[in-house]
């Protein structure tokens, strides 16, 4: 089966110019692949570079070497060398990202925050809102909050809005960065369910999950990031 | 029989040639404001120095001059200018619109139709129609050059938004020969239609602003408007109290401290001609009877 994500020898080093140009190697020789319908969970202690790898796949962090190839619009695209507008296209059509923290625009209603990825993909506003509502309800966000901007919500509510926003799209690749970190058991179960649905739909996922139970439930394969540790 | 100390029509010949060149250019480009080296005249700016210089440049010995101010031949301004040219050029003067070959005017176009043998000279205070909204001369010139006249409609838009109709009653902008937007000097918009396709040559002189522009005979002059707010002639809902004319432009005259008023023709020659023909209005008739009684 053709992998959706194929990473070969990717590496990342931060150079901190404000601290006398100190070099902080993060990862090196990152190589793994993810097939459609598969959920690969990155393992390793904090600071091992799990989040950095996720951000490199999303094009949020630049990749200093190697290749990060994804299936995009029927062809293979190397994120590490892609043009900014190609990466924008990838984010619109191929890769979704659920981060730990919500970076929402002030004043935008939660329902619209969730619906936005669908709008960007060209879905009509009414349908996008409808689907956003269904997802918010599943994640136990009461209707009366939908019109409020998520910045006024509690941490757990914000994260659920964020999860809804991440899971609403029909993108073939999903990156999950601690999706269940501050959720209660009921909502954790919903997320596990959502991941299972995505798998059935053939979505390739890379996840960072610290909760052993959740990891056990969603992981098809574990990739140990400590093997990519860069020697300083 | 001009006074020996003056050159014919006051201005020296070189100055008149300079002004004539400007006039010729203005006629060649209808509605375009031609700069000219406006001279000091023996009268203050605002009293018609632009019109006087144009008149001086075009006057010939056989011309018959008429000068009107607000349509009237007998106001101070009209009389002074008429006397000025009587003295410096020795030309014949008249109050009859029909007989005049050159008519210098402030604010009005005579009611009687003009003919091909006539030149109408306007005194213009502010020649730039865009000035009200765009204070930069460099910018207004560029707008004229490129025919960017959207701004002119902004002014009309504001009128409608504020008053429900285009309230501009004088200096109502026109488009000349389908090209230049022009300020017809502070003539009431009642007179605008008379400018269109007029057999007489119309010349405009602005002394302080140093501009001359022109409308050649039989040139199209269209008042700007909106499709849903077309140009209309403004008119008092009254007839002349002296001659009974119903279609002329009227002045409102307050007759006492109690607020009584009457409306009379602003064009004195037109009104007097009509009265001489036997037309009577509400005020003149009893007077005539009383005098005979």
């Amino acid at each position: 089966m053709i992998p959706m994500i194929d990473i070969r020898n990717a590496e990342k080093t931060f150079v901190m110019h404000l601290q006398d140009g100190i070099r902080l190697p993060v990862v090196r020789g990152v190589s793994f692949h993810v097939a459609p319908g598969e959920c690969v969970v990155l393992g390793g202690p904090s600071g091992a570079g799990k989040s950095s790898i996720l951000k490199m796949i999303f094009g949020n962090y630049r990749c200093d070497g190697g290749a990060i190839c994804v299936q995009h619009m029927g062809a293979l695209l190397d994120i590490a060398s892609a043009e900014p507008r190609q990466i924008l296209g990838v984010r619109r059509h191929t890769i979704g990202y659920v981060s730990q923290f919500l970076r929402a625009v002030p004043r935008v209603a939660s329902l619209d925050v969730v619906a936005e990825p669908l709008l960007a993909a060209g879905v009509a506003r009414a349908e996008a809102r409808e689907r956003a509502g269904v997802l918010l309800r599943r994640l136990n966000i009461p209707d009366r909050l939908w019109k409020l901007p998520p910045s006024t919500f509690s941490g757990g509510e914000q994260q659920r809005v964020n999860i809804a926003r991440g899971f609403i799209s029909d993108l073939p690749i999903l990156l999950l960065d601690e999706p269940t970190a501050s959720l209660d058991a009921a909502n954790r179960a919903v997320v596990v369910e959502l991941v299972a649905e995505k798998k059935r739909a053939g979505v390739a996922m890379v996840a960072i999950v610290h909760d052993d139970e959740v990891r056990h439930l969603i992981a098809d394969r574990l990739v140990d990031v400590t093997s990519f540790a860069a020697n300083a | 029989m001009n006074a020996p100390t003056y050159n014919f029509a006051y201005l020296d010949e070189q100055t008149k040639r300079m002004i004539r060149r400007a006039i010729l250019k203005a006629i060649a480009i209808p509605g375009y404001q031609v700069p000219f080296a406006s001279r000091e005249m023996p009268m203050p700016y605002g009293w018609g120095t632009g019109g006087v210089q144009v008149t001086a440049a075009i006057l010939g010995v056989t011309d018959v001059l008429k000068v009107i101010d607000q349509g009237s031949d007998d106001t101070t301004n009209a009389i002074s200018i008429r006397k000025f040219f009587e003295k410096t050029a020795g030309v014949a003067v008249t109050t009859s619109t029909l007989d005049a070959t050159v008519i210098q005017t402030r604010h009005r176009i005579p009611e009687a139709p003009l003919h091909e043998k006539q030149v109408l000279v306007y005194q213009v205070p502010i020649p730039e129609p865009l000035r009200f909204l765009e204070p930069r001369e460099t910018e207004t010139r560029r707008m004229h050059a490129l025919g960017e006249y959207g701004l002119m409609h902004v002014k009309l838009y504001e009128d409608i938004a504020r008053f429900g109709h285009i309230a501009t009653a004088y200096a109502y902008p026109v488009k000349v020969n389908a090209r230049y937007v022009m300020d017809p000097s502070p003539t009431p918009k009642f007179d605008n239609p008379k400018m269109d396709n007029c057999p007489a040559l119309q010349l405009f002189g602005a002394g302080r602003e140093k501009r001359i522009y022109a409308i050649p005979p039989y040139t199209s002059v269209v008042s700007l408007d909106f499709e849903d707010h077309p140009f209309t002639r403004y008119k008092h809902d009254a007839c002349c109290a002296l001659c009974g004319a119903g279609e002329s432009y009227l002045d409102e005259i307050v007759t006492d401290n109690a607020g009584s008023r009457m409306f009379v023709c602003s064009d004195t020659d037109f009104c007097e001609t009509r009265q001489a023909e036997g037309h009577r209005g509400s005020e003149s008739a009893p007077y005539a009877e009383n005098r005979h009684a």
């Binding site: 094009g59 949020n60 630049r62 029927g74 | 490129l146 909106f226």
Partner: protein, 267 residues
């Protein structure tokens, strides 16, 4: 193993192309060798501190200033790429009134302060020959609504408006002719934080709904993050770093960019 084939070529042509733009004032190099392509629907932020050359660059890009070297080309509505320097003045001004917008930091530069809001919005329509008062007014009213200005205020002059309302009116005035490219010079400068947030949100919505391309000059990285897809960081007249907005802001490479990013006050 898979072969890495060439990335799928996007057939979209650039809307605006800057090549080797340079401008100096005497010995001061305000702008040095700037090249980039802007695509339809793309929002580019030019960031940098005061004096970095970003405002000069905006002037060069919008053909309000002639470069000492280099060129700017723009894809006209007929699809033909034209060198802006080769356009006649009439064409350039027409472009400015129709296919381009320019939002100034100081609303007084972009509005007629003594003329009603309705006429401010309607002016660009009248400039391209619209001649029906009722329709012009209706269009103006619908644009005021879109920028969240009550239509009760349509006959009030912007000098009676608050700073935030003036900026929103400026945006309506620019967008009424459905331009494809809008230049913005510090559009939220000098506004209260809450007013800024509202304006940014509105601009973001309009830009994405209308598929506008925009070039936004700002010293505020938060504005760049909210509005733009791509960022160019300028220092001393040069573009020192460029890339996806979140990439440049989350993973800055150049010392100066790292300094800028580390100078953001925590929200």
């Amino acid at each position: 193993m898979l072969d890495v084939t060439k990335a799928p070529v996007d057939n979209d042509q650039p809307l605006l192309l800057a090549e080797g733009l340079s401008k100096s004032f005497g010995r001061l190099h305000a702008c040095r060798d700037v090249s980039f392509a802007l695509y339809p629907g793309e929002v580019l932020a030019i960031v940098g501190e005061s004096g970095s050359g970003k405002s000069t660059l905006l002037q060069l890009l919008s053909a309000q200033m002639t470069p000492n070297a280099g060129s700017v080309s723009y894809r006209m509505r007929d699809g033909v790429m034209r060198d802006l320097a080769a356009l006649g003045e009439a064409e350039r001004r027409f472009l400015f009134r129709t296919d381009w917008g320019f939002v100034h930091q100081d609303a007084a530069m972009g509005l007629r302060m003594g003329v009603s809001a309705g006429a401010n919005v309607g002016e660009r329509l009248m400039a391209v020959g619209h001649n029906h008062y009722g329709k012009i007014r209706q269009t103006a009213a619908s644009w005021l609504e879109r920028v969240e200005i009550s239509t009760d205020r349509i006959d009030d002059a912007p000098k009676t408006y608050s700073g935030g309302m003036r900026q929103r009116l400026q945006i309506a005035r620019n967008l009424v002719t459905e331009p494809r490219l809008v230049f913005m010079d510090e559009p939220t400068g000098g506004l209260d934080v809450s007013v800024q947030a509202r304006l940014l949100d509105m601009m973001r919505t309009l830009v994405s709904e209308l598929g506008l391309a925009a070039i936004v000059v700002t010293h505020d990285l938060a504005v760049a993050r909210l509005l733009s897809h791509r960022v160019m960081v300028m220092q001393g007249g040069r573009v020192i770093e460029t890339g996806l907005t979140d990439q440049v802001l989350d993973d800055p490479r150049e010392p100066y960019t790292q300094l800028l990013v580390s100078s953001i006050l925590p929200a």
